[in-house]
């Protein structure tokens, strides 16, 4: 196995693993956050605007973890620096 194959394999497998494992935690967290927000909305409909705003900000915070994983996997697939380096080297030969 030459290094191009190795890098391609490692990048693809790691990209899949990154987004798969990285979305578990945020999914659980968002589910908990929405469930708690819904129950507090049912208990106190008067403070709906505050709860909704805090919920949205919190959801964005949680979601950004998943977004980081997505960005990393996208970089691994479409803009992989190691891959580009190896390709440049192979082209230079």
């Amino acid at each position: 196995m030459d290094s191009i194959t190795l890098i391609a394999m490692a990048s693809i497998v790691t990209a899949g693993l990154t987004i798969a494992l990285g979305s578990i935690g945020p999914a659980l967290g968002e589910g908990r956050a929405v469930a708690t927000a819904l129950s507090s909305l049912a208990q106190q409909p008067d403070s709906a605007t505050t709860i909704t705003r805090t919920l949205f900000v919190g959801l964005a915070m949680i979601e950004s973890i998943a977004i980081y994983c997505f960005v990393v996997s996208m970089i691994l697939i479409f803009a992989n620096p190691f891959w580009n380096h190896i390709i440049a080297q192979a082209a230079g030969k």
């Binding site: 505050t50 705003r53 979601e63 980081y68 997505f70 960005v71 996208m74 970089i75």
Partner: protein
């Protein structure tokens, strides 16, 4: 497949390049600036108002209300910065319904620039509100041990702001591009509608988070409130 509108070269003269990000940003700036200039050219205070003036009034009062809800007491001081952030990011994602357009916020350079603006604006407003000493003292609250952590959090939240907006916008266009190759008929429309919603939520989040950071920097430390002291 390109990751961002950075890779789209619109015009080139020698070393001087204009990529898609810059062109779309300029177009948005043009629309925002000229549009609001045209609307505010003849403002009326009477009952007879143009519908565009009503639109701008709704936008401005809505943003002021949101800023005030976060805890900034005089929103008119901050609306110039926070409102511009919101309007730019919101318009950038709303314009995705125009064919051939790519949101400039889908490029890490744009979002990093916006996040750096927030990084500079937070100490600016903080020093303006409570003086240099008062602002610097907020770094060593509650103890001096927290000093490095406060500085790290300042930097890491800037990174988070930039990457969050970039990731959301980039994922929208990326998912559309992937879906167009798999199911090119109805489904991309549904996803682009979802993308519009995501874009508005991200614009809201970006400006609200900036407002929260500014609010935490400008909070003037009063002596403990009565109710808290009694408990």
């Amino acid at each position: 497949m390109r990751l961002s509108p950075d890779a789209m070269i619109v015009w080139q003269y020698g070393l001087f390049k204009l990529n898609g990000t810059i062109v779309f940003t300029w177009a948005l700036m043009f629309v925002l600036a000229v549009g609001s200039k045209l609307v505010t050219r003849k403002l009326s205070t009477g009952l007879e108002r143009s519908r565009w003036q009503s639109l701008l009034e709704i936008v401005v009062t809505g943003i002021e209300k949101q800023i005030e809800d976060v805890g900034l007491r005089h929103p008119e001081k901050y609306i110039g910065f926070l409102g511009t952030l919101f309007l730019f990011v919101a318009l950038a994602s709303l314009c995705t319904i125009i064919p051939g357009y790519e949101p400039p916020t889908g490029s890490l350079s744009t979002t990093a620039a916006l996040a750096l603006c927030v990084l500079v604006a937070v100490p600016f407003f903080g020093i303006k509100e409570q003086g240099l000493g008062g602002y610097l003292r907020s770094y060593v609250e509650p103890t001096v041990i927290m000093l490095p952590f406060n500085i790290i959090s300042e930097l890491s939240r800037t990174l988070a702001l930039a990457v969050r907006l970039f990731g959301n916008m980039m994922s929208g266009t990326m998912i559309l591009a992937i879906l167009l190759t798999i199911t090119p008929f109805i489904f991309p429309i549904a996803m682009s509608v979802l993308g519009l919603l995501t874009g508005m939520v991200q614009a809201y989040i970006f400006s609200i988070l900036a407002a929260v950071y500014i609010a935490s920097a400008t909070r003037v430390r009063n002596p403990k409130p009565e109710s808290a002291a009694k408990r």
